[in-house]
């Protein structure tokens, strides 16, 4: 019924979408691992990254790499700033206080964008060479897809090296395992948390570029759905675990593409519903996710 090339094509699509989810999920997972905070503002940083990239593409003659890298740096800074202003004053408060604050931060970022740039969607046009279709054997993909996957993999390798080889990275994993014990061992947790937000936000900005390039238009509320889906990905992989977030991101990407690609077309409108039904199933069957860490404390 489904030809091999068709299946291969769906795999490629799943890989592209999964790369985006994985990048967003990593940021959510790192922050959750350390602070037990579901950062609802994370998706909005993806949106900010997309807007910055568009501004750079339209108004400057900078090379394309800069249109990805500069937003990553700026949004990383924004993430640190948000943590400093909104979350750090709540250190030691009940977890729900930070959750509510993250909702408020999300609202501020969205409405700030509406206020300064209007709620109208904008076309996100990429240079011609990125849209060009490539053929590799039986599958076809745009250059953007290839670049997205390569960039995502590169960033994830970099991140893995960072958390396994550097002092701050190792401290970060220690904090995720047990924040109090890490502090007692003399780890500067404020510094570690700032790093976590910087890294997570920068990855979200990179994902924002890919997401915007994929869908061709951006608007102030665009971050909501990828942010929420990335959380599903993080839960599937085992929240708090960085490899888990990567795995969960790709699994979710494949699952979503396969749902649309292999089931009757009448169902394809239900793809977002499918993702969250999947979340409920995962919570029912394996609530700690696939690569559960010891991090998920009860109570």
């Amino acid at each position: 019924m489904f030809s091999l090339p068709y299946i291969a094509q769906q795999l490629v699509n799943g890989l592209t979408l999964g790369s985006i989810y994985a990048l967003v999920a990593i940021g959510l997972s790192i922050v959750y691992g350390i602070l037990r905070l579901i950062n609802f503002a994370h998706g909005d940083l993806l949106m900010v990254g997309a807007y910055l990239a568009l501004a750079l593409l339209l108004n400057t003659a900078l090379p394309l790499g800069a249109a990805v890298l500069l937003p990553m740096i700026i949004v990383g800074g924004v993430g640190v700033l948000v943590e400093r202003l909104a979350y750090r004053p709540l250190r030691g408060a009940p977890e729900v206080a930070m959750l509510i604050t993250s909702l408020a931060v999300s609202s501020v970022i969205q409405n700030g964008t509406i206020m300064t740039l209007s709620a109208q969607p904008r076309a996100f046009r990429l240079p011609q060479e990125l849209i060009a279709q490539q053929k590799l054997g039986v599958v076809s993909f745009s250059t953007l897809d290839a670049v997205s996957v390569a960039l995502a993999v590169f960033l994830m390798v970099l991140l893995t090296l960072f958390v396994t080889r550097t002092r701050v990275g190792i401290a970060m994993r220690a904090c995720a395992e047990n924040l109090r014990a890490a502090r007692l061992m003399g780890i500067n947790i404020n510094q570690v948390i700032a790093y976590a937000f910087a890294i997570g936000s920068a990855l979200a900005a990179a994902a924002g570029f890919m997401w915007a390039g994929r869908f061709g238009s951006i608007e102030p509320f665009m971050g909501f759905l990828p942010g929420l889906k990335a959380f599903v990905a993080a839960v599937i992989g085992g929240i708090g675990s960085i490899p888990g977030a990567m795995l969960g991101g790709y699994l979710l990407g494949f699952a979503e593409i396969f749902f649309v690609g292999f089931l009757p077309p009448e169902l394809s409108g239900y793809r977002d519903a499918f993702v969250f039904t999947l979340l409920l199933l995962v919570l029912l069957i394996r609530p700690r996710g696939l690569l559960a860490t010891g991090a998920e404390r009860e109570g």
Partner: protein, 342 residues
């Protein structure tokens, strides 16, 4: 019912009567929205304030209640033209408003139970994401199930049944039911779960069952509020019940103070009237010719952040306001109070 309760009930009823006969349509509508928001906030308080879980599902439950009640109350004639694909028995059906509202609430509670089974066994955090996911699911179904929901067009021309008396009556029912629930053994178990779930379980409290009860009762009243809202605005679309509604209810809850019913009433009232006022300011405000849409929402969000940082317990700090006792001279003994400031 005590003399005091009767007196205050009569007073409120009188005030609503006055409002209904003296205020113009605009103010009556705002007042109706205040009552709907009271229903929403008080019912969300049960999950978020008393049990300590964090549900963000109110928009989804409202949507369910609004859609079901709309399909039930629309006269068969308009159903025949608007939704020709509806099954025969459903398109012939025309249910009284009060019954349609209750059925809307029951369906919302049923959906809450289905979501609650996987999620409420876990610690509260997953509930926030799962209920937001539910909102997306409900919206996607509303967009795609065109035979019943008319898809993205939505359902319009709902009979405008909702008036001040309905919303007032339902607000009374909500407050009464939740107040009785919270002050029963169920409510004490819920508060125990919030303070320490492990300890509560060790003392024999069925943690999951109580969380489930709170979540479903909350969803029931959210469904009621959705039905009332639909028949107030008379049109619903899949995007009527967005994240913004949920967020605003959370704001009302937090401003009033989680874990206090009178706080919820106060928070709902203040945070309905203030944004309404800000909206007027916002539309007339500009910065060098640049309109400032979104400013009021930013002000609300910043306020809520400041509340979280500086007065986490909200206006009432988990305490209840006692109305002065007017009739029995004999002062009641000071009642033991569970400290809910947590």
């Amino acid at each position: 019912m005590s003399k005091n309760a009767l007196f205050y009930l009569a007073l409120l009823t009188g005030l609503v009567f006055l409002a209904q006969s003296m205020l113009n349509d605009y103010y009556q509508r705002i007042l109706s929205v205040v009552f709907i928001n009271i229903i929403l906030t008080v019912s969300l308080n049960l999950t978020n304030g008393f049990v300590g879980d964090f549900s963000l599902g109110h928009a989804a439950f409202m949507s369910i209640g609004a859609y079901l009640s709309a399909v039930l109350t629309l006269p068969p004639a308009s159903k025949a033209s608007m939704m020709p694909q509806l099954p025969m028995w459903l398109s012939q059906l025309e249910v009284p408003f009060v019954l349609a509202t209750i059925l809307g609430g029951l369906l919302a509670a049923l959906v809450a139970a289905v979501v609650g089974i996987p999620v409420l066994r876990l610690r509260g955090h997953y509930l926030a994401v799962a209920t937001l996911g539910l909102m997306v699911i409900v919206r996607v179904v509303a967009i795609n199930w065109t035979a019943v929901t008319r898809g993205a067009k939505g359902i319009n021309g709902l009979p405008a049944f909702t008036n001040l008396w309905w919303v007032f009556g339902w607000a009374l029912v909500t407050v009464y039911v939740i107040w009785r629930l919270v002050n029963s053994s169920y409510g004490r178990a819920m508060i125990a779960i919030r303070e320490d779930a492990t300890a509560a379980a060790a003392r024999g409290v069925n943690v999951t069952a109580h969380r489930m009860l709170a979540f479903c009762v909350g969803a029931f009243f959210a469904g009621i509020a959705g039905a009332l809202w639909g028949h107030l605005i008379t049109a619903i679309t899949p995007h009527s019940f967005s994240f913004l509604i949920t967020f605003n209810v959370v704001v009302m809850l937090v401003v009033g103070g989680m874990g206090s019913i009178s706080g919820s009433i106060l928070g709902a009232t203040v945070m309905t009237l203030v944004p309404e006022f800000l909206r007027h300011v916002e539309t007339n405000l500009s910065l060098g010719g640049h309109p400032l849409y979104g400013l009021s929402q930013i002000i609300i969000a910043v306020t809520i952040t400041l509340v979280m940082i500086f007065r986490r317990q909200g206006l009432l700090g988990g305490r209840e306001v006692q109305l002065p006792r007017l009739f029995d001279r004999q002062r009641a003994l000071p009642r033991a109070r569970v400290d809910t400031a947590g």
